[in-house]
């Protein structure tokens, strides 16, 4: 039914277009040949529209408009527009519903759960979370990290939770804010930008390229996160982040170029660590 109505509407649209085409040809008046051709076109379109309309059959049951039918009884002129608004509102709602359904399936694929909380009540045992690891343990773990071209330093401006400062091969600076062993925030800055102040951790880099890297780091932090293997998670993240030491020097694996839209490849694959432009991946 929908298909037929659409075909009929398209037919009418084509018919209208060809009719206005006649007038345009008539104005420019370049011989009768062109005019004849357009008239033939109109006749053809008219026939097509006619067949489309003949294919339509009247709905057997009247449409039920539900409560909206009461709007018919509205006498106030100002309120007679309400039906249109209602239809628009309905369409919008329908779209939201559709998008949220898609989003929900996508989210189910990528589980980004940051806690143990589950609705099942079967078995609940107390686990030591990744966020309650003693500072000594954190320090020890970080001291075992050994990534090329990377210097790590730990600060504790807020009592127990560590700020992990990274200097990556004269290319960039970063700060990883930890809660226990859980990565809570990553800030990426240029080699010549300041990270000395606590406030610097919440301001964005002056440069587009480091803002892009920070975005990539945030999605990687969620990708690597695992509530049960906290140590592995942070270790993988640091290794992945180390691949940015070639941010300016290695061209994109996909297009072979250094620059795309005046930016170097700011994306690193989470498995192969291959550099690609954001727009080039997949």
């Amino acid at each position: 039914m929908d298909v037929q109505i659409n075909a009929a509407l398209n037919g009418i649209k084509n018919l209208r277009a060809s009719v206005s085409n006649i007038f345009e040809t008539a104005i420019t008046a370049e011989g009768t040949f062109l005019l004849e051709e357009s008239i033939a076109c109109v006749t053809q379109n008219f026939k097509e529209t006619e067949t489309c309309i003949n294919n339509l059959n009247a709905p057997s049951v009247p449409f039920t408009l539900g409560n909206t039918s009461y709007l018919n009884y509205e006498t106030d002129l100002e309120k007679q527009n309400m039906y249109n608004e209602l239809v628009n509102g309905y369409k919008w709602y329908e779209k939201t519903h559709q998008y949220s359904a898609i989003a929900s399936t996508l989210l189910q694929h990528n589980s980004l759960k940051r806690s143990y909380f589950s609705s099942s009540n079967k078995r609940r045992r107390l686990l030591t979370g990744a966020h309650t690891v003693p500072p000594k343990h954190v320090d020890h773990l970080i001291s075992t990290f050994n990534v090329n071209n990377m210097q790590l330093k730990i600060y504790r401006p807020f009592a127990t939770n560590a700020f992990l400062h990274i200097n990556l091969s004269r290319v960039l600076k970063a700060a990883i804010i930890l809660r226990g062993l859980m990565i809570e925030w990553v800030t990426v800055k240029g080699f010549n930008e300041s990270l000395d102040n606590v406030d610097d951790h919440w301001s964005e880099s002056r440069y587009e390229v480091f803002r892009r890297v920070q975005k990539a780091a945030h999605s990687a932090m969620l990708h690597f996160y695992s509530p049960t293997f906290a140590e592995l998670a942070i270790r993988s993240f640091i290794t992945w982040f180390g691949s940015y030491s070639t941010l300016f020097s290695e061209p994109c694996k996909m297009c072979g170029k250094h620059l795309l839209n005046a930016l170097p490849p700011t994306h690193r694959d989470v498995r192969s660590l291959d550099p690609t432009h954001e727009e080039c991946r997949k």
Binding site: R170, V171, F191, N192, R206, F248, S249, H258, L259, P264
Partner: protein, 223 residues
């Protein structure tokens, strides 16, 4: 501020300087760059009346509060960065270090921003008569401070923007070996952290070339 590469743009006789600047500006705008005002780099020469020691006093509109001066005794160049008051000091030492007004050079023109890149199209003019000498294109990749790391990236940018006139190798300024005061092995600028004085020194090299050309031209007919 990041690594800055200065490229002289060769002029054939088909187009004048302003025409090329307009063409390159249009190209930059088509690449989605935005023009952010104008820039100016100037250089004065003061020469000692006793020996041939020169002091180059330079300004760069990118660092409006600084004066860059380079002492040059023919063998060695000693750079110094000071506040603006240095200009007044140079006036005081005028009898000893006299200003060579006819050697004053300026490079000025539009300044563009394209993502993290900064591009300046400089028309070089010399002495009070403002004789046009040529074009100097400055490209600054602000996020990176080590020339050797991002040279390939800047080269690609230059190639996309200047085409056949883009350089294929890093300017000699970066590959000359510089004696290292802390280490027996000399180092290269290309592997060092880039400083604002490096931009000024690149300008000075090109300015001196233009000066040499002009002096050679003036001497030419007398021979």
């Amino acid at each position: 501020m990041g690594v800055t590469i200065l490229v002289p743009y060769p002029l054939d006789n088909k187009k004048t300087g302003p025409e090329v600047v307009e063409e390159l500006s249009k190209r930059l705008l088509a690449m989605q760059a935005t023009q952010t005002g104008h820039f100016l780099v100037d250089g004065d020469v003061f020469e000692s009346s006793f020996n041939k020691t020169k002091i180059h006093v330079m300004h760069n509109s990118e660092y409006p509060a600084s004066v860059f001066s380079i002492l040059d005794n023919g063998q060695k160049q000693i750079p110094l960065i000071t506040d603006l008051i240095f200009d007044l000091l140079m006036l005081k030492v005028n009898p000893i270090y006299a200003s060579r007004k006819q050697l004053k050079i300026e490079s000025k023109g539009p300044r563009f921003e394209l993502g993290d890149f900064l591009v300046k199209l400089g028309s070089v003019t010399m002495s009070q008569s403002q004789t046009f000498k040529g074009l100097l294109i400055e490209v600054d990749y602000r996020p990176c401070l080590i020339p050797i790391i991002c040279w390939e990236l800047i080269r690609e940018f230059l190639q996309g923007f200047l085409g056949q006139y883009s350089p294929t190798t890093i300017p000699v300024y970066f590959t000359n070996s510089v004696p290292n005061p802390h280490h027996p092995v000399p180092y290269q600028k290309s592997n060092d952290t880039y400083q604002p004085i490096d931009t000024v020194q690149q300008y000075l090299e090109h300015f001196n070339n233009y000066r040499k050309q002009t002096i050679a031209l003036m001497m030419g007919p007398n021979k």
